[in-house]
């Protein structure tokens, strides 16, 4: 692709935004965006809505049957009430709204485009989305198609192009034509974009990982079923996918929960959604299982089809999973939590929390927040963050403002 294509698309988007601002003013545009998101949520809740029907029947890496969990959480936060609350919580000057926001998307989760583009629209900006060439672009397409049904003038503020990440000429052109660039990917992707961009113009969402805690007061069955869902969705590839689940108690408690989690993983409807055949993925799963055999006291419970693996380890420590449904379970005491998280301090994103109440909950929230955790929820909701989630601890709207 020639960099001029990016410049042309950017120019078109800026003109449309300019026309829209001239016609309705900033407040008018924002009102229309609010209304469009609210209506979008309403439409998608209707099983007869044609774009939803299309999504339900479409094949793809992330089928509707998997995405629906995240969709429910996100759509609830698209309601006018929720969005107004978000806007009130992050006040900004309309005059500092960027004309054009660039978005560099990873392909590990399907609704990233919905979230980041919705935020950009809410601050009054047009959006140019850079998709990876490997990505299934259909979920962003559904979003834009729905906006097109509801508010074509708003849909006209969004366009996407795909190119291979790391293509310097194209990445630098994107940075040149956009006032702000929101980058989702690993740290090296974020760093690469920063190198091309004007100082301070990149909002980077780099590599983050998540975990879970099962308190002794939790209903272990509910916790296991919830975490099974959190692990299986998107092949555990999201930054909110749990890598390690801490179980309050001793080694026996951890093993017991690990067995329960394995049963829940096997029974989950999401484990029956097959992953496309992929020898590399299978090799990594096999390697992780083999590596666990080297660990003293490890218990490995695994699925013959390689969809999931539970590895119970006696030592309290946050372990990074190679993803692909591989989750570590380890015992913990509340006092030990800080030490167990220290290896990943600053790289934590979310935690599923089962069974904590009152002051213990407050204490845990405080500890987790201190380690950079920005999203705490019940098991089963880790892949369903709302629009207002302060991802990476950032103001999601104000971070886009110039």
């Amino acid at each position: 692709m020639d960099p001029r294509v990016i410049a042309d698309v950017a120019s078109k988007l800026k003109h449309r935004r300019s026309d829209l601002m001239a016609a309705y003013g900033y407040a008018g545009v924002q009102t229309r965006v609010l209304g469009a998101l609210d209506e979008l949520a309403y439409q998608w809740k209707d099983p007869r809505y044609p774009v939803r029907i299309r999504a339900e029947s479409a094949p793809g890496r992330w089928p509707y049957s998997m995405v629906k969990v995240s969709l429910q959480g996100l759509l609830a936060s698209f309601s006018a009430d929720s969005v107004q609350k978000l806007i009130r919580s992050e006040p900004f000057e309309a005059s500092r709204s960027p004309e054009l926001v660039g978005h560099v998307l990873a392909d590990n989760t399907p609704l990233l485009g919905w979230v980041t583009v919705a935020r950009a629209l809410l601050v009054g900006s047009a959006s140019l989305v850079k998709m990876p060439t490997t990505a299934d672009a259909q979920w962003l397409d559904y979003f834009v198609a729905t906006l097109g049904d509801i508010a074509p003038e708003i849909a006209g503020l969004v366009d996407s192009l795909a190119w291979r990440g790391g293509t310097a000429s194209l990445d630098s052109e994107l940075c040149r034509v956009c006032d702000r660039v929101a980058v989702y990917g690993d740290d090296s992707t974020v760093d690469a974009i920063i190198r091309h961009a004007r100082s301070g113009s990149v909002v980077g969402y780099g590599h983050r990982v998540s975990g879970g805690i099962v308190m002794s007061t939790a209903d272990p069955q509910t916790a296991a079923e919830g975490f099974a869902k959190d692990v299986l969705l998107y092949d555990q590839g999201g930054c909110l996918s749990p890598h390690t689940i801490f179980v309050e108690g001793d080694e026996r408690d951890a093993r017991s929960f690990g067995e329960r989690l394995a049963t829940a993983l096997a029974a989950s409807e999401y484990s029956r959604i097959p992953m496309p055949p992929n020898g590399v993925r299978a090799g990594k799963v096999r390697e992780a299982r083999d590596m666990a055999r080297l660990e003293e006291g490890a218990t490995i419970i695994s699925d013959p089809s390689m969809r999931w693996t539970v590895i119970v380890l006696p030592k309290s420590m946050f372990r990074l999973s190679p993803t692909h449904g591989i989750v570590y379970v380890t015992p913990i005491t509340q006092e030990l939590l800080a030490g167990s998280l220290s290896p990943v301090a600053g790289k934590l994103q979310g935690f599923g929390l089962a069974g904590s109440k009152g002051s213990r909950q407050a204490n845990l929230y405080a500890q987790l927040t201190e380690f950079g955790v920005s999203y705490i929820c019940k098991p089963g909701l880790m892949q369903a963050p709302p629009l207002e989630w302060r991802e990476n601890g950032l103001d999601v709207l104000r971070s886009l403002i110039m």
Partner: protein, 337 residues
């Protein structure tokens, strides 16, 4: 018993007798099971009982990654004569291959005997030039140790001008051995220069590029080698090894398959089943290296490969596997400088 086995393996490497590989391998496995506590724990955690291991395919292979997390050594690491490290962005992430004096001697024997087996592709009595740090400067680089053992007479590192001048002044054939990215760095430093090597010369490249310098497709890389050194395809060789192994594979020409010496065998494994793939299907490369005396003889790599005649072709490392390969240790050194 130990001395008998070691001598038997040494004899086999020098003069491989038919039917001896599997018995020697099983004996070495038994030794490693008995003396290497981390490996014993691993084997005991595998589904098959150790008593049921009666053939090569039964021997549990450890992931190459395991060298990063545990000490796979039959002797105390304190008493080891050498440790060779795989790449890793930090010292803590580097894989460590511990060798006692017996293992080091067997390693060196394997290096020399393996290199001897490709002598017909090399110019007679030609000097060996190494594009990598000398072993004294990189004591934990298996690649530098290998080239020293093979008798490299000239070493070039971090001064591409010096190498470029030396190549220009050549009048007699050489063997030029370097990492893929070192060759690319040389070519990039002198984009307009060709170095027509004297007839009979050979270049041997090893290692990949992933995440290092710039990546080049294999076909383009071989084109560059042929064009810039003005060599025929048969003079462009490749070596495949890793710090976790004591033996190497060699391939001749762009289309050549990697071939193993008799004391090194491979299987290509279906990652789903753990069994051998169907003929011609891609899978993960597993190696059985009889020269791995002190660590573990059976290693499961994350390299995808496909069988080709008596050898195999590499399909590249699993895309999201860690960047590794012995040549990268060299680059790390370079990066630090």
């Amino acid at each position: 018993m130990r001395a008998d086995l070691l001598q038997s393996i040494q004899r086999y490497i020098v003069n491989p007798a038919p039917g001896q590989f599997e018995p020697l391998t099983l004996a070495l496995f038994r030794r490693q099971y008995d003396l290497n506590s981390a490996y014993r724990r691993y084997v005991d955690a595998c589904p098959s009982a150790v008593g049921d291991i009666t053939s090569l395919v039964d021997i549990p292979s450890v992931p190459a990654q395991a060298f990063k997390t545990v000490s796979l050594s039959c002797t105390s690491t304190d008493g080891c004569a050498a440790v060779f490290e795989s790449s890793g962005t930090t010292q803590a992430l580097a894989g460590k291959h511990w060798m006692d004096s017996d293992a080091l001697a067997l390693y060196e024997l394997s290096l020399v005997q393996g290199y001897d087996r490709i002598q017909s592709a090399l110019p007679a009595n030609a000097p060996l030039w190494a594009i990598m740090p000398p072993a004294a400067d990189a004591p934990h680089s298996s690649l530098s140790h290998m080239l020293a053992t093979l008798g490299a007479s000239h070493w070039f590192w971090d001064d591409w001008s010096l190498l470029a001048r030396a190549l220009t002044n050549l009048t007699t054939p050489i063997v030029l051995f370097g990492t893929g990215f070192a060759f690319v760095a040389l070519f990039d430093a002198f984009p307009e220069t060709n170095w027509p090597l004297p007839a009979g010369s050979v270049v041997i490249n090893t290692g990949g590029f992933k995440g290092r310098t710039r990546e080049i497709a294999r076909t383009d890389f071989y084109s560059l080698l042929r064009d810039r050194f003005e060599l025929p395809d048969g003079a462009c060789l490749a070596e495949y090894g890793m710090s976790e192994m004591a033996s190497q594979f060699y391939a001749i020409g762009e289309e050549g398959a990697f071939l193993a010496p008799p004391w090194l065998r491979t299987r290509i494994i279906d990652p789903y089943t753990g069994d051998d793939v169907e003929a011609g299907e891609p899978g993960l490369l597993r190696v059985y290296d009889l020269a791995n005396w002190n660590s573990v003889l059976a290693i499961q790599t994350q390299d995808m490969a496909v069988a080709d005649g008596a050898g195999f072709r590499l399909l590249g490392r699993a895309p999201d596997a860690d960047v590794r390969g012995c040549s990268l240790t060299v680059e790390e050194l370079w990066t630090r400088e």
